[in-house]
Amino acid sequence: MRSPCMYSSRRLLIAAAVLLLGTPLAAHHSFAMFDSVNKATITGTVTRFDWTNPHVFIELDVAGTNGEVKHWSVELGSPSILQRSGWKFSDVKPGQKVTAIVNPLRDGRPGGMLYRLTLADGSMRGNGGPPPADPAAR
């Protein structure tokens, strides 16, 4: 299992995040709490999948290189935003192994905004749009 690793990217945040960051119009909350440049890749086991408003969440247990398990909370767009981009509420289930690339929280806690999710069958999901390309490595 891969340990969290950091990427950098000059790519803009995708889909909902881009929409919400880039517009002067109202959104549920600012996305400034997330690092819009660096990304973390986490692979782990889903412990909980909340298909809820105002945001969908994936809870993950992630094993580090030392074998210690760290828990991550990953925020996604809302069910509406995800559904319109092809997601289904049943796409993720507890017990599944997934890999998530996230824009991590800037305060260092183990949480982030989803950039791209890879399911066990290799299929990918974006966060309100088509699955984005690999982030460019720094």
Partner: protein, 259 residues
């Protein structure tokens, strides 16, 4: 005499509308006095998503300048500066939206990329937003009350009338606590005037004018556009799992679970 398909559709719509009016009349509910929508341009029912540029989008209409009276101008600028600085630090300040407080009129008309659904009947236009499931009701062809007769709230009281193919909506009774356009403050004297019309078969425009003689030097006007979402089914939005919380410094943060 031959009848075109569009004329037949309008005819059927009138018959259906008449049946609804009759049915309503049988229940004793007022509303039969308003004529049914008379022209295709007056049918704005449907689901609409925000349209901000791209194919089919109307030319952007720049918002009018915002000029506030003292002391509101200084307060507004100070608040915006504080928000900008907090955002730069990655510690955005909490807002009503981050706490799942309804946006109200007029902000609810444009929340990120969420659709709005418009349901039109002869006596009322109902607007339901997907984000936060907010509802506003526009009563057609009824007189407006005086501002001090309407209890201040998130949606106030809206009345509307057709001016050609434009639905003109007048809203008063918006509480000062309700979020404003561009975070603008407003008093209980705020009056929101909207001119809603189809600019194409599948494009809707809402020109919004804010007039507040207490706060604004002159009215502020901005324009929203929407694209029709055919056959769209609105998605449930109940804000019952809000993981964004406000810390002791007023900063909005995401709750991270321990397991």
């Amino acid at each position: 005499m031959t009848t075109s398909p569009s004329a037949r559709r309008i005819g059927m719509a009138r018959i259906a509308t008449a049946m609804v009016v009759l049915a309503i009349g049988c229940t004793g509910v007022a509303g039969a006095q308003s004529p049914p929508p008379a022209a295709a341009g007056r049918n704005i029912s449907g689901a609409w998503e925000p349209l901000r540029g791209g194919p089919g989008a109307p030319p952007p209409t720049p918002p009018s300048p915002i000029t506030l009276k003292a002391p509101y101008a200084a307060e507004w600028q100070a608040r915006r500066s504080a928000q900008d600085e907090a955002t730069r630090k990655g510690e955005p300040l909490a807002t009503g939206g981050s706490q799942c407080i309804p946006y109200g009129v007029p902000t609810m008309m444009s929340i990120a990329n969420y659709p709005v659904e418009i349901l039109q009947t002869p006596a009322q236009v109902t607007i339901i937003t997907e984000a936060f499931s907010e509802v506003r009701r526009v009563y057609l062809d009824r007189p407006q009350l005086k501002i001090d007769e309407v209890p201040p709230g998130y949606y106030g009281r809206s009345v509307g009338k057709w001016d050609g193919d434009t639905l003109v909506v007048d809203t008063i009774g918006i509480a000062p606590k309700v979020a404003g356009y561009q975070s603008l403050p407003h008093s209980n004297q705020l009056r929101v005037t909207e001119r809603i019309r189809l600019t194409g078969p599948d494009v809707l425009q809402d020109q919004v004018t804010l007039d507040d003689p207490v706060v604004l030097e002159k009215p502020v006007t901005y324009t929203l556009a929407y694209k029709r979402l055919p056959n769209y089914e609105m998605v449930e939005f109940v804000c019952d799992n809000n993981r964004e919380f406000t810390d002791d410094n007023g900063v909005v943060r995401m709750k991270v679970l321990e397991k």
